[in-house]
């Protein structure tokens, strides 16, 4: 699957490229408006990561161009302005998702995979990893056909891990994912530890391998 990263800041596009590029995704980078327009007119992408502020033109125009040509590409906007901003509200409607800088790469990855899943929805909206299966519509998890009793946060956490499998995710990124804007409320990361501990226990009890590893207490990795 191809992903286009439209971002004028080379270090940022480079980071995104490095993180996303894997056996699953093939990434391309466009650094300005014209390069981006050229690329979207030639190829179809599973998902486009789009920065609004670009040299040579607005990301908004790229979005309009995509819509005008009925392109199926998913669009994830990344912007320095957050969703509380008036100027941004108009954009959100045209795009599939929206992420405010500074974001965590695992978060970006989770959003992109979610968009791609929605776009390529072909009747079965589930993810299978070994003997763990996630039903995204019903928000349920089964291990070998045994239904797990997970809380909302534990389910979110598992989906986050699955989207970022084999990557180390920092506690900060996990906390921000689980608490979002309310992150300001949770100053310490004990909550995360508790949630992960419970999720792990439930998965192992249901017969899954122990896949969630703590990396010296600073992050976690879901290995497949």
């Amino acid at each position: 699957m191809k992903i286009l990263i439209i971002e004028d800041e080379p270090e940022l596009s480079n980071s995104i490229y490095t993180y996303l590029n894997s056996e699953r995704f093939v990434c391309e980078i466009a650094v300005d408006f014209h390069e981006a327009m050229d690329k979207i007119s030639i190829y179809d992408y599973a998902c486009i990561v789009l920065d609004i502020g670009l040299p040579g033109g607005s990301g908004l125009d790229i979005l309009k161009e995509l819509k005008a040509n009925n392109k199926p590409d998913g669009v994830l906007i990344i912007s320095a302005r957050n969703s509380l901003d008036d100027k941004v509200n108009g954009l959100i409607s045209g795009a599939d998702d929206y992420l405010t800088k500074p974001f965590h790469l695992p978060e970006l990855m989770a959003r992109i995979t979610a968009i791609i899943r929605r776009k390529s929805f072909d009747g079965k909206n589930s993810i299978q990893i070994d003997n763990i299966s996630l039903d995204l519509t019903g928000k349920t998890v089964k291990v070998d056909d045994v239904l797990l009793d997970l809380t909302q946060k534990e389910y979110d956490l598992l989906l986050y891990f699955v989207s970022n499998k084999n990557k180390v995710i920092s506690k900060n990124a996990i906390a921000e994912h689980l608490w979002g804007d309310n992150m300001d409320l949770a100053d310490n990361y004990d909550f995360i530890y508790t949630h992960i501990k419970n999720l792990r226990k439930k998965l192992i009890a249901a017969g899954s391998e122990d896949r969630i590893k703590s990396i010296y207490g600073m992050g976690y990795k879901f290995s497949v």
Binding site: D86, N182, D187, F191
Partner: protein
């Protein structure tokens, strides 16, 4: 008063002088009578003038005027009179002549003059006052209009002041100057605000770069625990900075009035859900939550409402101690959120300032209360802080 008193005294003496002069004329008349007839005239006994003659041995040195009391005929009382005493010689005999003139008329005259004068002055005074009031009010009307327009002026509102046009040059000039000054101030303020906002936005991309680089760095399996600990420090710093930046942006947005749409919110349901949502955080610090939620509604922007109570409750949790308590007391038009905390009151005059942090907690960025205050200001909520015996409470009323 003083001048009217002086005036009456002066007037009295002028008239007294007049009486003295007429007494002198009387003396001359008596002396002329004696010179012509060689004998004393008949003594006079009129109501307002009397004369009498007494033989004396030695002549008086000179004539003199004195104030006397005069017996009034038929009347019981006595009245003021002016007496002239002099000596004269009639056929080698010396006589002492006394002529008295009543001052009653004079006093009456003075009284009348004073009354007329005083009432005239009073009349003029009242008339002037009335005219002044009417004329001045009309004259200063443009000034007060300008003043009332100025009172409504607030920096950053972007609406240029509209003064009523005045055909008086001075007022027109004043209005023009005021308009220029306020427009300029507003422009400068807007520029400054835009600068702050842009600076915050520009910071987001470098922060994103640092964050994503850290996210990539920790994928390296050759990193030791030692390295990761350093990285954690960097992560936390970036997190703090990005939150600080977001808070500054939020403040700018509230100031820019970006949250103008309001909704009628059932605060009881709202707080009820909020407490459920934060249950985990309360439990983590083993806080006892006491809630007394009565039916209450508020008209506020929903996003601001969310931020307001998030911040208030976050404060209540953050600045609390293990096994402490937090209480919510909601009634119509009023909400009190209290929590146990440090055994000292916060500085009431500074707590709502930006970057105010108490000496006991330097970990947080100190914009939480500034945001709370800003939200209250734009939502017409009055907020006050109270401290009583280890319990810190914030009271909202609307």
């Amino acid at each position: 008063m003083l001048s009217s008193f002086a005036f009456s005294v002066l007037l009295y003496y002028v008239l007294l002088n007049e009486v003295d002069n007429s007494l002198k004329i009387e003396q001359r008349e008596i002396e002329a009578y004696i010179a012509e007839h060689g004998k004393l005239p008949e003594p006079m006994q009129l109501t307002n003038q009397k004369s009498s003659f007494t033989p004396i041995d030695r002549p008086l040195s000179k004539r003199k005027f004195i104030d006397v009391r005069m017996d009034s005929n038929g009347d019981h009382g006595s009245k003021n009179g002016r007496q002239l005493i002099f000596s004269t010689r009639v056929s080698n005999r010396l006589y002492r002549v006394e002529v008295v003139k009543s001052l009653e008329e004079t006093e009456d005259l003075v009284r009348s003059i004073i009354i007329i004068t005083l009432s005239t002055i009073l009349l003029i005074l009242v008339a002037t006052l009335l005219i002044n009031r009417i004329v001045l009010k009309r004259l200063w009307l443009p000034f007060y209009n300008t003043l009332s327009v100025m009172k409504k002026f607030k920096l950053g509102q972007h609406n240029s002041l509209q003064f009523e046009p005045s055909n008086l040059d001075e007022f027109a000039f004043m209005n023009k100057t005021l308009k220029e000054v306020t427009d300029n101030a507003d422009k400068e303020y807007t520029l400054l605000k835009e600068f702050t906002e842009n600076a915050s936005h520009e910071l987001q991309t470098p922060l994103a770069i640092i964050r994503t680089k850290l996210d990539l760095l920790i994928q390296d399996e050759s990193l030791t625990e030692h390295h990761l600990r350093h990285l954690q420090g960097a992560y936390d710093a970036v997190q703090k900075m990005s939150r600080l930046n977001q808070s500054l942006l939020l403040l700018a947005k509230i100031e820019n009035n970006q949250f103008h749409s309001t909704e009628y919110i059932n605060l009881r349901d709202f707080l009820h859900d909020k407490i459920d949502e934060l249950d985990e955080l309360f439990a983590d610090k083993h806080l006892k939550v006491a809630q007394k939620l009565a039916e209450a509604h508020i008209t506020i922007n929903p996003i601001l409402c969310e931020i307001l109570f998030n911040n208030l409750l976050a404060n209540g949790i953050r600045h609390n101690h293990e096994n402490g308590c937090i209480s919510l007391d909601l009634s119509a038009g009023k909400c009190i959120i209290s929590n146990s905390g440090i055994p000292n009151p916060l500085d009431n005059s500074r707590i709502f300032n930006r970057f105010y942090t108490s000496q006991f907690n330097t970990d947080h960025h100190g914009l939480g209360l500034a945001i709370i205050k800003q939200i209250c200001d734009v939502s017409n909520i009055a907020i006050s802080y109270h401290y009583n015996n280890g319990i810190h409470s914030f009271e909202l009323s609307w």
